[in-house]
Symmetry: C2
Subunit: 198 residues, 2 copies
């Protein structure tokens, strides 16, 4: 490998190097969006040579896939959210808004939605991620008809909330307190999860 | 002005030149997103010198503002949609899905949402556009409490539908027939427009 360490002192063999690159990548994808994030800037923030980023992770797309994870484990979270039918919408709303009100959760969720909305390759990756890990897990837990359609409808409201409140900042939704937002969207998620769709 | 016509024959004085540039810009912003659209490519598609685009429209941001319009006139459309309280959600759902199922409507709406999600400057412009022209008009027609919050909540579901069904293509929502989508989101828009939020 031709990559050499920068003056900051990180060497290719450092056990923290991969982690530093991933941290820098996650932050830049979330804050700058997919298009404006570059391997060069990620390398600079991590204090390594750009060739090292390519050596470890390949392309920008592959690095995005590596760091583009949901800020929670759906398989672990969802059974607790869906323990009974009538409160599912409220618990799901409270859980998701809670994630989005934390700094790390908001960064990851807005990064995912931003990338999916602006970059076709990223959109395909996020769709796979969401369908398999979040919507797939939701649909599995649901007892109503058309669980996959219900899950993607609920997902559309979540994506819309992320975009309007946390990315674009549409007022007054953006500055409304979290409890009011939870109360407003809970019946919507409940409708999509369990009530007749037609 | 130093700009010269290209072999395709358009000259700076052509009455159709501005229109050709705007058509090319609208198409490219919608299909490529804000970041990857360039004045050079817009000029190439319109068959004019890039300097002519700058002469007429200034920066990429200014050109975006010029062509970033809703594919309908909210002030003309909304009074008909909101003639009575109980059917407002269903009529609004039918109207918006109808717009999104037309090629031109889909292009404009996805272009707006894509730009807003990936580019902070575009986000600010779209927020202004939506708050003034769509959400503002909606709020004005609503008789319930907190009309501005209700309008931005309804807007979040619309943005989420545009993203999930028309941009990212989350299945099975993306391939569900329009009537089923209308039936599924109508009660949600009705909830946001007129029902108690807490």
């Amino acid at each position: 490998m031709a990559a050499v360490a920068r003056p900051s002192g990180r060497r290719p063999g450092d056990s923290g190097t991969r982690e530093a690159i991933q941290r820098a990548a996650a932050r830049q994808f979330a804050e700058l969006g997919y298009d404006r994030t570059s391997l060069r800037r990620i390398a600079a923030e991590a204090g390594v040579d750009p060739a090292l980023v390519t050596h470890f992770f390949g392309s920008k797309q592959q690095l995005f896939v590596t760091v583009a994870e949901l800020p929670f484990d759906p398989a672990a979270a969802l059974p607790h959210l869906l323990t009974d039918e009538t409160g599912a919408g409220e618990r799901l709303a409270r859980f998701l808004v809670g994630v989005l009100e934390s700094e790390q959760g908001r960064r990851r969720m807005t990064g995912l939605v931003r990338a999916a909305a602006s970059e076709p390759t990223a959109a395909a990756m996020v769709r796979e991620l969401v369908e398999t890990k979040l919507i797939g897990a939701l649909a599995k837990e649901l007892g109503a008809d058309q669980p996959a359609l219900r899950a993607s409808l609920a997902g559309s409201q979540v994506v819309g909330l992320v975009t309007a409140r946390y990315i674009v900042g549409v007022e007054p939704l953006a500055s409304t307190d979290p409890e009011t937002v939870i109360a407003a969207i809970a019946p919507v998620l409940q409708h999509y999860l369990t009530e007749p769709l037609e």
